[in-house]
Amino acid sequence: MALHWYWSVLLAFTVVMFFLSSAAILVYAERKVSAAMQNRLGPNRVGPLGLFQPVADVLKLLLKENIVPYLANPFVHSLAPFIMIVIAFSAAALIPFAPGVVVADLDVGVLVLLALTSISVYGITLAGWSSNNKYSLLGGLRSAAQMISYELSMGLAVISVVLIAGSFNLMDIVEDQAGGMSFLGWNLFRNPIGAILFIVAAFAECNRTPFDLPEAEQELVGGFHTEYSGMKFGMFFLAEYINFFVASFIIVTLFFGGYLIPFQTLLISAVPSLDGSLLLGAMQIGTVILKAAFFAYLFIWVRWTLPRFKYNQLMTLGWKYLLPISLVNAIVIALGIAIFRMF
C-alpha cells in the first residue's frame, strides 16, 4: 500500500515526534521504576508527580557548556553523537504501526534494519576513540567487540524469522503471524529459541545491563561518553532511550505479532463493520505501543536487578553459546520448512 509522498512526510514527522516524546517519558519511567525498586520516591519536585523532570533535564543539558577535551579530534567528537541519534531515528522508520502505517515500507526492511544497527556501533567507537581519554577508549573498544559478537546471533535469529515468513518485508512478517487467532501464530510460539536469542541480542545491542560494558560506570567512569557534556551528552542519552524503545518495537514486530490485536479475527467476526476501519487501525497502533511498552519495562526491570557481565564472559556467551544455538536453530527451522513444503 503506497502512500502519497506528503502522507509519508507527515507520518515520518509524527514518528519522530512520537519517539522524541517517548524518550522523555521513558527517562521519567526509568527513574520512577528504579525508585520503586529501591524503596525511594524518585523525581517528585518538578511539576505534578515530577512529570516535568525530563523537560527540566533537557533544559539543563541545553544550557550546559559544550566541552571538547584538549587534543581530542573535534570533528569526530561532534560526529559521534549525531551518528547515534540519526541511526536511532532511521531504525524507527521501519517499524509498522498498523497495516500500511509505516514510514518506509521496504521489501528489504530486515536487511536495512540489520545494517542500521551495525552502523550504530560506529557512534560509540568513534566517541570513545575521539575523546582522548583512556576510559572512553576502553569503552569504545568493548562496544565494538560486543557488537560483533552479538550481531551474528541476532542476524541468525532474524533469519529464522525471515525463513518462516518467506519475506524480508517487516509488514509481511507481521501479517504472517496472523494465524492461530493472531495469538498462537506469533513467532514466539513458532520459533521460541529464536525469540529468546533475539531478545538477549537486543539487550546487548542497546548496551543495557547486563551488557552495559561500554559505559560500565563503576569501572570506566562513564565509558564512551565520559568526555561528553551538554547536549552532545544529551544526544547519547536520547539515542540510548530511543534505541531501546525501537528495539522493543522490533522484538514485538518480529516475534510478538507486531500490531496484530490478539484474537483479532474473533473481534472482526463479532463486529464485521470494524474490518478495515480507522478504529481498528487506531486499536492496532495502540496494541503495538502497549506491547512495546511491556518490553521497555522489561529493559528497565532487568537493568535495575541484574549485575553486569564481565568482558570475557560476554564474549563466551556470545561466541560459545548464542552463536551455535542460533545456527542450529536457523538450520532446524530451514529443514522444518523444507520438509513442510515437500509434503
Binding site: D212, T305, P307, R308, F309, Y311
Partner: protein, 437 residues
C-alpha cells in the same frame, strides 16, 4: 637576586614528580621510559607493538572506595601489573595522639574506619584500660559488645551494597542503605551521633542505653535475619553474580598469611583467625557464636563469609540483650574515669575530679606498654601504646586491618581483568581512612 632564585627546588620540594616517577618505575611502564628518555638514557623497549596502556585509576575514581590510587598497566582488558598508591587521606593520627590525652584521642578513632566507629572507640578504650589497669563494670562491657556487633553489621552492609554495585547491580546498594539507616537511628539514640559516635569512655561509657534504644535494637535484631535471607535468595543462586565472583582473586591460606591480610579475607581463605575467639575481650567468651570459614579464597567466598558474619552478629546481639545485667556503666574510680554529671554539678570532689581528668588525664605508670587488639569489622584492629607517665601517650601505633588487607591487592590484581578490578578492591573491603591513618 634573591636566595630563592638560586635554590634548587627540584630535589627538595618537588615531592610529587619524584613520587610519580618512582611509581611508574615500579610499574615498568613506558611512562618510566619517557622519564629516562628525557634524561637521555638509552631505553630498551620491550613493548614494540605499543599495546600496553597505563591507566591511573583513582584517587578520584568512584569505585576505589575512597582515595585509593591504582596505577595499572593494561594489555587490552588484562591488568599486567598494578601499583597501589595510598596516603591521600593521611592525617598523622598516630603523631596527633602524642599531643592529646588518652580521652581526647578517643574521638579521633571514629575517623579511622568510619564505617564501624564504635569498634574503634572500644578498641582504643580497651587498650588504654589495659595500660592503666582499669576495671570496667559488666554492663558497660555488654553494651560495648552489643554496639560493636551492630557496627560490624553496618560495615558489612555497606560492603555488600557497594560490592554488588561494583558488579553492576545498583538496587542492592540502596536496599542495604535502608537498613544502615535503621542502624544509624540506633546509634543516634544510644550515642547521640550517627556517624562519629564517640560513645565509649575510658573506664566505661558516656551514657546508658535508653529503653527506646533497647527497643530499637530488639526490633532490628528481630527483623534483620529475614532481610538477609531475602538477599541471599536473590544472590546465592544468581548466575551472573556467581560467574563474576567465583574464582576471581583467589588467595590460598598460605598466601593470605604471607600477605598479612586481615579479617574476613583471612577467614575466606580458610585461616580460622578471629580475635573474638582466640583472645576473647569484653564478654565474647560468654556468648555462643561461630566463626564462619570458607576454603575457596575467592571473591565469592568473601561474600559468603561476610553474609554469615552478619548472621552471627545478630546472634550475639540477641544474646547481649538477654544477658546484659543492670548496674553502673562507668568505673567508680575517680582518678581513672569521668565522674557522673550528677557528681560534677552537685559535689566539689566531683567537679575537681572532672577538671583534673580533663586537664591532666589518666597517668598510666611510666614505661608501661601494651598492645590490645579487637576484631573490628575489617579485621584485627590493634593499638600499641607506650606510656611515659604523663597524661598523653608517649607513642601510639595503630595496626589497621584495611592497611594490611590492601597489601594483598597488588598481588591479586596481576592478571585479572579490568572488570575484576573494582570487584577485587571491593572484596577486600578497605577503608582508606584506616589504611592512611
Amino acid at each position: 637576586m634573591s636566595i630563592i632564585d638560586n635554590f634548587d627546588f627540584k630535589d627538595t620540594l618537588q615531592f610529587w614528580p619524584r613520587h610519580n616517577e618512582a611509581l611508574y618505575k615500579r610499574l615498568e611502564s613506558k611512562h618510566a621510559w619517557l622519564e629516562e628518555r628525557r634524561r637521555g638514557d638509552r631505553v630498551q623497549l620491550d613493548d614494540p607493538l605499543d599495546s600496553e596502556m597505563v591507566l591511573n585509576i583513582g584517587p578520584q575514581h568512584p569505585a576505589t572506595h575512597g582515595v585509593l590510587r591504582c596505577a595499572v598497566k593494561l594489555d587490552g582488558e588484562t591488568i599486567k601489573k598494578c601499583v597501589l598508591d595510598i596516603g591521600y587521606l593521611h592525617r598523622g593520627l598516630e603523631k596527633l595522639a602524642e599531643s592529646k590525652t588518652y580521652q581526647e584521642f578517643m574521638p579521633y578513632t571514629d575517623r579511622l574506619d568510619y564505617l564501624c566507629p564504635y569498634s574503634n572507640n572500644v578498641g582504643w578504650c580497651l587498650a588504654v584500660e589495659k595500660l592503666a589497669g582499669i576495671e570496667v563494670p559488666d554492663r558497660a562491657q555488654w553494651i560495648r559488645m552489643l554496639m560493636s556487633e551492630l557496627s560490624r553489621i553496618s560495615s558489612h552492609l555497606l560492603w555488600l551494597g557497594v560490592a554488588l554495585m561494583d558488579a553492576g547491580a545498583v538496587s542492592l546498594f540502596l536496599w542495604t542503605f535502608q537498613y544502615r539507616e535503621d542502624l544509624y537511628n540506633i546509634f543516634d539514640e544510644v550515642a547521640g551521633a550517627r556517624l562519629t559516635v564517640s560513645h565509649s569512655r575510658i573506664g566505661g561509657l558516656a551514657s546508658d542505653i535508653s529503653d527506646t534504644g533497647l527497643a530499637l535494637i530488639r526490633d532490628f535484631a528481630g527483623t534483620f535475619p529475614a532481610v538477609i535471607a531475602g538477599w541471599e535468595k536473590l544472590l546465592n543462586r544468581n548466575r551472573i553474580w556467581i560467574d563474576r565472583a567465583a574464582g576471581v582473586g583467589v588467595l590460598t591460606s598460605e598466601e593470605v598469611v604471607e600477605l598479612g591480610m586481615a579479617g574476613s579475607n583471612l577467614r575466606a581463605s580458610g585461616v580460622a583467625y578471629d580475635i573474638r575467639r582466640f583472645e576473647p575481650y569484653l564478654k565474647y567468651d560468654e556468648v555462643d557464636f561461630i566463626i564462619p570459614i570458607r576454603e575457596e579464597g575467592d571473591v565469592l567466598a568473601r561474600y559468603f563469609v561476610r553474609m554469615d558474619e552478619m548472621k552471627e552478629s545478630v546472634k550475639i546481639i540477641t544474646q547481649c540483650l538477654e544477658f546484659m545485667p543492670e548496674g553502673p556503666i562507668r568505673a567508680d574510680d575517680a582518678k581513672r574515669s569521668y565522674p557522673s554529671k550528677n557528681d560534677v554539678y552537685y559535689s566539689m570532689e566531683g567537679l575537681i575530679h572532672d577538671f583534673m581528668y580533663t586537664d591532666a588525664g589518666i597517668c598510666p605508670p611510666k614505661g608501661a606498654e601494651v598492645y590490645h587488639a579487637v576484631e573490628a569489622a575489617k579485621g584485627e584492629l590493634g593499638f600499641y601504646l607506650q606510656s611515659d607517665g604523663t597524661g598523653s601517650p608517649y607513642r601510639v601505633s595503630i595496626k589497621a586491618p584495611s592497611f594490611s588487607s590492601i597489601q594483598g591487592l597488588e598481588y591479586m590484581m596481576e592478571g585479572a581483568a579490568m572488570g575484576d578490578m573494582v570487584l577485587l578492591i571491593g572484596s577486600i573491603d578497605p577503608v582508606l581512612g584506616e589504611a592512611d591513618k
